[in-house]
């Protein structure tokens, strides 16, 4: 028998028993939708977190190194970095400088890290507001992180609107009355509110905003060009020691900047382990991006498996429904099957007819289920997303095309699997049923 003749017959008999077909399909589509939705939540959550960690730093062949102990020989200076870059597995090392500052506007203040980034890294930041002009005006152009606003506090009362009341302070970083001061003492020395700042309140040149998370959490910082920052800090701290920078034994500064951390780009993923080993041996603390990613991967795979199996239970129930429907269908059509056998229909064709019927129920349920899942998924994202991460568009439910296609294939296979026993039963029915006269 031709493929389309078998499919046509199966469709015909499903259409004949419309109500029952619809009810069985209903079971399958609920099952499929629950599996797809559950998996989409797993996938969505995992990807959202991975994105948050990897944004702006997406390659897994990056390492972040910092000093593991106070060893002057390993200080990350321009010279050391040049030396380290000679290692065969190193493609590039991007130093990072951290300055500390307070930004104020009226009663609002925020203490924030100013992160000096190399030009290319700064240029790769995704900006949500404003733009970074290429023009060199000699000013320190700053990119404010989108979440710096969360750390803003009331200078007079000490209240944090975001942490206390989940409200955002009405501070406008782009406004004219914003001022910036640099910290003069290491705030680690005295953390209890006594902070010392340069007396000059400057008007910062905040030119843009970024929501990039990056490896160092750019969205909680203010980013600037590393060379411009150095120049600026030179002026600010003229003659004074710079907080965070090590000093010689005699208490004098080193006269050149020592970078607290640097991002190492390893030339290939295979060399990651060798690079880690090398930097650890040379007195650096190494944080690898791939480790974080692996951890997130692992924990969310578990979440996904748990969610998926919850959904699978309803699909199992649907499969039992299909088996039931097929058994009924075969009981009703004992005579018809007999007639087909007498007329010379191959018994394998009979089995395929019923398998196709069961598979079609599965496929139809799958199609409806997947379509419905897409709808529900976007509802979940608009309602649940903001609840988990206010102010951020968090896509908690994602249905990749592959998942949709797999769901269709799987629901069809489930249907066929459920129809296997009934179909085999149909195949074995006696052709004598056709002869019996009622």
């Amino acid at each position: 028998m031709r493929f389309f003749d078998i499919i046509g017959l199966s469709f015909g008999s499903l259409f004949r028993r419309r109500a029952r077909t619809i009810l069985t399909v209903l079971g399958v589509f609920i099952g499929t939708a629950s599996v797809v939705l559950m998996l989409s939540l797993g996938i969505g959550l995992k990807q959202s977190f991975l994105e948050m960690y990897n944004e702006g730093n997406s390659q897994a062949n990056k390492l972040t190194i910092s000093l593991s102990e106070n060893n002057p020989a390993a200080y990350l200076t321009d010279d050391t970095i040049e030396e380290l870059e000679k290692q065969p597995f190193v493609e590039q090392i991007r130093p990072k400088l951290i300055g500390r500052a307070r930004i104020t506007q009226g009663k609002w203040a925020v203490d924030v890290n100013i992160l000096g980034l190399t030009k290319d890294e700064l240029g790769s930041l995704k900006l949500t507001k404003g733009a970074l002009s290429e023009e060199d005006t000699g000013d320190l152009k700053l990119i404010v992180g989108s979440r710096v606003i969360e750390d803003v506090y009331n200078y007079k009362t000490g209240e944090y609107p975001y942490y206390d009341k989940k409200e955002y302070a009405d501070m406008d970083f782009f406004g004219d009355s914003v001022r910036i001061q640099f910290e003069t003492e290491d705030f680690n020395v005295d953390y209890l509110g006594h902070r010392e700042f340069t007396s000059k309140k400057r008007k910062p040149y905040i030119v843009a905003e970024t929501a990039d998370m990056g490896a160092e959490g750019y969205c909680y910082c203010i980013c600037a060009d590393i060379d411009a920052l150095k120049e600026f800090m030179d002026k600010e701290y003229r003659g004074k020691s710079i907080p965070g920078q090590p000093v010689r034994k005699n208490g004098r500064p080193y006269g050149e900047y020592i970078y607290p951390l640097a991002t190492v780009t390893v030339n290939s993923r295979e060399n990651i382990d060798a690079a880690k080993e090398y930097f650890t041996e040379n007195g650096y603390q190494v944080m690898a991006n791939d480790e974080i990613t692996e951890e997130i991967d692992k924990s969310f795979n578990l979440v996904q498996a748990v969610l998926g199996s919850i959904g699978a239970v309803s699909l199992l129930v649907a499969a039992i429904g299909i088996a039931n429907t097929m058994t009924m269908s075969i009981y009703e059509r004992t005579k018809e099957i007999g007639i087909m056998k007498v007329l010379g229909c191959d018994i394998k064709n009979i089995r395929w007819m019923f398998l196709a019927e069961a598979g079609l129920i599965g496929l139809m349920g799958g199609i409806v289920g997947v379509t419905l899942s897409y709808g529900l998924s976007s509802i979940i994202n608009t309602i649940v997303g903001p609840l988990i991460e206010p102010g951020m568009i968090l896509t908690v439910s994602r249905i990749p095309i592959a998942l949709a296609v797999l769901a269709l294939i799987f629901s069809t296979l489930i249907g066929m699997f459920a129809g296997l026993l009934p179909a085999n039963k149909a195949m074995r029915l006696s052709p004598l049923a056709a002869i019996r006269n009622e």
Binding site: R2, E336, I339, M340, L343, D346, I347
Partner: protein, 266 residues
């Protein structure tokens, strides 16, 4: 040796069995169905029912043979076994040189698909299909395309005089019309043997005659072998030969040719 008796309005001549049988047939006629000592026992509780108790006969190509018997005589069992729907307990059935009692189920289905047409008592049309689709249905099992099947089915419906009812569903047709569709369906596959199981059992006597006439004409014009089971002696007399069955045994075989009716008594 010859005795004349009157029964059912016919004159039967008793003849010695075996040997002579061959000479009765025109020379060169091929055996289509060869049945040898066919037995079928059923187990009913502790009892063994002998539905068929050693039946031997031959049917020749192009012949119209009626198997006649009362209900429970074993005639239907015989037909079922000839068509490969039931397995004999013992004995041999050879059709077109093939021992069909030895075939497995899928082989039997293939054998039916290639060689056999079947006409049912209760028509057994597929309720959801119209006349044309019903006739074309068995062609689908042979992997023939839809257009080719419908062309053949169309011609066959024309032959049985139903060209105006092609798109009618079974429930829109009379019993006679439905059986015409049944006849067309059996013959559309160009079988070498057609089995008919009480084909007129559900029809009134006038329609029965028509259907029988049709079957006989179509079968003889296409040179098919036709084996019909009936309980009606009168209907059976349209056949070339009549095999009478009682209690699972052949009672006699009548030869219903123009020369007269010859009876073989067992």
């Amino acid at each position: 040796m010859l005795s004349i008796s009157e029964r059912n309005g016919g004159i039967f001549l008793d003849i010695e069995k075996q040997g002579e049988q061959e000479s009765e047939q025109p020379a060169g006629r091929q055996v289509a169905i060869d049945v040898c000592n066919l037995q079928k026992f059923y187990r009913l509780g502790d009892e063994t029912v002998r539905a068929l108790d050693g039946v031997t006969f031959q049917i020749y190509e192009g012949e119209f043979v009626a198997i006649v018997g009362t209900s429970g005589s074993g005639k239907s069992t015989l037909l079922n076994m000839l068509a490969g729907l039931e397995k004999p307990t013992k004995g041999e059935i050879t059709i077109a040189g093939q021992r069909i009692d030895r075939l497995k189920e899928n082989q039997l289905v293939r054998f039916r698909r290639r060689k056999i047409g079947f006409i049912f008592q209760s028509f057994n049309l597929i309720a959801t299909m119209n006349a044309l689709e019903n006739v074309a249905f068995p062609l689908a099992f042979r992997g023939i395309t839809k257009t080719a099947r419908e062309k053949k089915a169309d011609a066959m419906l024309e032959r049985v005089g139903l060209s105006r009812h092609k798109s009618h569903k079974p429930n829109q047709m009379s019993g006679g019309q439905q059986q015409r569709v049944g006849v067309a369906r059996a013959l559309v596959v160009n079988p070498s043997i057609v089995f008919a199981d009480e084909p007129t059992g559900n029809l009134d006597s006038n329609t029965s005659k028509e259907i029988l006439e049709l079957m006989r004409n179509v079968v003889s014009e296409q040179k098919k072998t036709l084996v019909m089971v009936t309980h009606d002696n009168n209907l059976a007399h349209v056949a070339d030969r009549i095999i009478h069955i009682r209690d699972g045994k052949i009672k006699k075989i009548e030869n219903n040719q123009t020369t007269g009716i010859i009876e073989e008594v067992y």
